[in-house]
């Protein structure tokens, strides 16, 4: 496997992993009662413990 394929594979792999991690975090926030949207609203923040 050449270096070009490794770099491209790493970039694509990183993008997939980042999106999956983000969606899992959003699901967790929703479970805690917060807003999991991408709207930038204040309610996106986690509720105070």
């Amino acid at each position: 496997m050449n270096l070009e394929a490794v770099i491209v594979g790493a970039i694509v792999g990183f993008a997939v992993a980042w999106l999956v991690r983000r969606w899992l975090a959003a699901a967790r926030r929703r479970k805690e009662g917060g807003c999991a949207g991408d709207c930038g609203c204040a309610t996106k923040l986690k509720p105070k413990k």
Binding site: E4, A5, I7, V8, I11, V12, A15, V16, W18, L19, R22, W23, A26, A27, R30, G33, G34, C35, A36, G37, D38, C39, G40, C41, A42, T43, L45, K46, P47, K48, K49
Partner: protein, 717 residues
């Protein structure tokens, strides 16, 4: 950020539209923190307020409310915060009551209720400039004396006047701990209050304050009793006999509290306000025109047309500059990577092409939120709600549905959360169900792309704003009958009166408008650099792989005499078609064929189900894979304008015909394409039933409406 001294906490309380948040901004500057109250989705906004001489306090801006009789979660938060009943929050050391100077009697009712909590109070008579303009003179010293010596200061937070006096007054209240003069309850009511507080304390084993006793006696909402743990069985008899006692003294138990408070306030305000000659009624004169039964909606439509027309016109040049910047970046990045075609395609076609296609709409987003800010701050948005009220009351929605529906034009998620202010659960459910129909700002880029690429060039720039307004109305057009069926036939919601306070017209404050515009632009750019960036890379990979070398050989062999450029273009097209994305798009395309979508549009539509704005970057990638650095200015638009059907009965005709463009916009106006919205709807309705119903209903409706538009328009053109 500096931190407050000695942990002093000061709460800012007031009626809506008194300039409370403007005063909060003036007192705290940009030293603010935004969070949530635990367990509820009500924002907790706090900041550090410098009182002078190095003394600092934490100032918390509580939600606006008219009285302490809690009906909604945000009103309950105010009561809990003032009583020190919020976990992790202290009881405030002082309360700043923000009062509209032009309406002292009504605004001081809340102040009079807060006085019952026994906390030190500062009265800020805000909007002093408007009172002066109306010829009102207020004797603050006399009012302060009558209120028991609490500081009373005048300010005009909007103009930044009197802010130093407010700081000094807070310092004085914190130091002197002077409570406001409390109302004198008639003997029978006082006795009833004592009975209720004593019985509640005895039944629950917890101390019950006089203020809590008043909430227990006067409120129909059982939130205070629930919090104390005073069960219905325990309280029913006590409350019944206490309310009978109030009734026997000549008061309706449900009206006794305001009657006694207003009588108390009328005595206090005697001689405090004197009226001189002023320019009262200017807002009323403007409202006679803007809220006219027939002229009002016509002017509203005209304002909206001008609004969207200006967005297109003003954004034209900055958009061209950004597009040039994107193209220039491609020409810099691509050539050094000629030896690495895969990496070159990822950077030039995927990342720069996809993210650039999205970022090019930044000027339109900036101008859109600038105008929204101006309309909100000038006071016109509330008038727009009033105009729309006639339409929505017809379809049976609760009056309080307007704020969520109106804010749904920006984003559905905070709108769904704001439905919590609606007390009737059925009305709340119906409102939440129709909120996703409102045309949120994520739909804007696809409308803008289609208008700029097809509607403007074909029919002239005026039609761009007409189509834009039309697309924003499509959602409303379907939301109204949906709400009608839901409220009247399915949920059987009882109609409730709608009370809307119209704020005074005022010149928008540039700092506030620009700040909100900046926040939205930052969100847009941040999305381009995160979610859109990541999705673009994935869409590129699916459109690029697999790359079988035999494809190029086959094309070359079947076109032995063709020029090299032609062979290369045919090879690139064949690669995209046989990519994972191409195969998937072609497999699903028959479903969208009745709407006139080819496989590339189908791919864009499918990729947009998690977030609808992804279609622009997806089209940017699928129309540029293989193009590399050759992409000229406005490449995506041109590529879409040149795209033709390659096979089937439509072979040779443009893919983006007027019928397909309109069908695509109508589909996006109605389809449920936002993962977070669906999840939030499930969260707010307590399960997946309504969320799944909304997804199926909206998507089916979008398909049917898109098909109808395509089939009708294709036959007419």
């Amino acid at each position: 950020m500096s931190t407050p001294d000695a942990g002093l906490l000061v709460a800012l309380v007031g009626n809506p539209n008194t300039g409370k948040s403007t005063l909060f901004n003036a007192l705290t500057g940009l030293r603010q923190r935004v969070g949530n109250y635990p367990g509820v989705t009500v924002a907790r906004k706090s900041g550090t307020c410098d009182l002078g001489d190095g003394q600092k306090v934490e100032l918390v801006d509580l939600p606006g409310l008219y009285s302490l009789a809690a009906a909604s979660p945000d009103e309950q938060v105010v009561i809990d915060a003032l009583s020190g009943n919020i976990a992790g929050d202290r009881r405030p050391d002082a309360v700043v009551l923000v009062v509209d100077s032009t309406n002292l009697l009504r605004n001081l009712f809340l102040a009079s209720q807060v006085a019952e909590l026994g906390r030190p109070v500062v009265i800020v008579l805000n909007q002093a400039d408007v009172a002066k303009e109306q010829g009102l003179r207020i004797d603050t010293e006399l009012l302060s004396r009558r209120l028991g010596g609490v500081p009373v200061v005048m300010s005009s937070a909007w103009k930044g006047e009197g802010i130093l006096d407010v700081r000094r007054a807070i310092a004085s209240a914190v130091a002197n701990q002077t409570p406001m003069k409390r109302v004198a309850w008639p003997t029978n009511i006082a006795a009833a209050l004592t009975d209720v507080a004593t019985a509640a304390a005895a039944d629950t084993g917890k101390p019950v304050t006089e203020a809590e006793g008043q909430r227990l006696l006067f409120d129909t909402n059982p939130s205070t009793a629930d919090r104390l743990g005073w069960t219905l069985a325990q309280r029913d008899k006590t409350l019944r006999s206490a309310r009978d006692r109030v009734r026997n003294s000549g008061y309706n138990p449900m009206a006794a509290e305001p009657l006694v408070h207003y009588a108390h306030l009328r005595i206090i305000l005697e001689g405090v306000v004197t009226e001189g000659a002023g320019k009262a009624g200017r807002s009323a004169a403007v409202d006679r025109l803007l809220l006219h039964r027939f002229l009002g909606p016509v002017l509203f439509l005209g304002i909206m047309l001008g609004f969207f027309g200006s967005v297109f016109w003003l954004a034209k040049f900055p958009m061209a500059w950004i597009q040039s910047g994107v193209d220039w970046t491609k020409t810099i990045v691509a050539p050094p990577l000629d030896a690495y075609p895969m990496l070159q395609s990822l950077l030039a076609d995927g990342i720069i092409g996809g993210v650039g296609a999205f970022l090019v709409f930044l000027p339109q987003i900036l101008i859109l939120f600038l105008f929204i800010g101006i309309l909100e701050d000038s006071g016109y948005m509330a008038r727009a709600a009033f105009i729309m009220d006639r339409l929505f009351s017809w379809c049976g929605l609760n009056g309080k549905s307007f704020v969520p529906l109106l804010s749904g034009f920006a984003c559905a998620i905070p709108s769904l959360l704001s439905t919590r202010t609606i007390e009737d659960p059925k009305a709340r459910l119906a409102t939440a169900f129709v909120v996703p129909f409102m045309s949120c700002s994520a739909r804007f880029p696809i409308y803008a792309l289609m208008c700029a690429a097809f509607i403007g060039p074909l029919y002239g720039p005026g039609w761009e704003s007409v189509v834009m307004v039309g697309m924003h109305c499509v959602g409303l057009f379907f939301a109204v009958p949906t709400a009608f069926v839901l409220t009247r036939l399915v949920l059987k919601v009882k109609p409730q009166p709608f009370v809307l306070e119209l704020p005074r017209y005022q010149m928008p404050k540039p700092r506030d408008v620009l700040w909100r515009m900046w926040q939205n632009a930052a969100e847009f750019v941040s999305k381009a650099g995160t979610v859109i960036f990541a999705i673009t890379i994935i869409v590129w990979a699916l459109s690029y792989f697999p790359r079988d070398a035999s494809v190029a050989e086959r094309i070359k062999a079947s076109n032995p005499t063709a020029a090299e450029e032609v062979v290369k273009a045919k090879t690139q097209a064949a690669y995209v078609e046989q990519s994972y994305m191409g195969r998937f798009g072609k497999a699903v395309q028959p479903v969208f064929d009745p709407l006139g979508f080819d496989w590339k549009i189908t791919v864009g539509v499918l990729a947009s189900f998690p977030a609808r704005e992804v279609i622009v970057s997806t089209l940017g990638v699928t129309y540029s894979v293989g193009e590399g650095a050759k992409a000229d200015s406005q490449h995506l638009r041109k590529a879409m304008q040149d795209a033709k059907w390659s096979e089937g009965p439509r072979a040779g005709s443009p893919i983006f015909s007027l019928a397909a463009v309109l069908a695509l916009m109508v589909f996006f106006a109605l389809c449920s394409q936002c993962g977070p919205t669906i999840a939030t709807l499930a969260q707010e309705t307590g399960g997946w039933k309504w969320a799944a119903g909304s997804f199926v209903y909206m998507t089916a409706l979008a398909w049917l409406a898109g098909t109808a538009v395509y089939q009708v328009v294709i036959r007419l053109t």
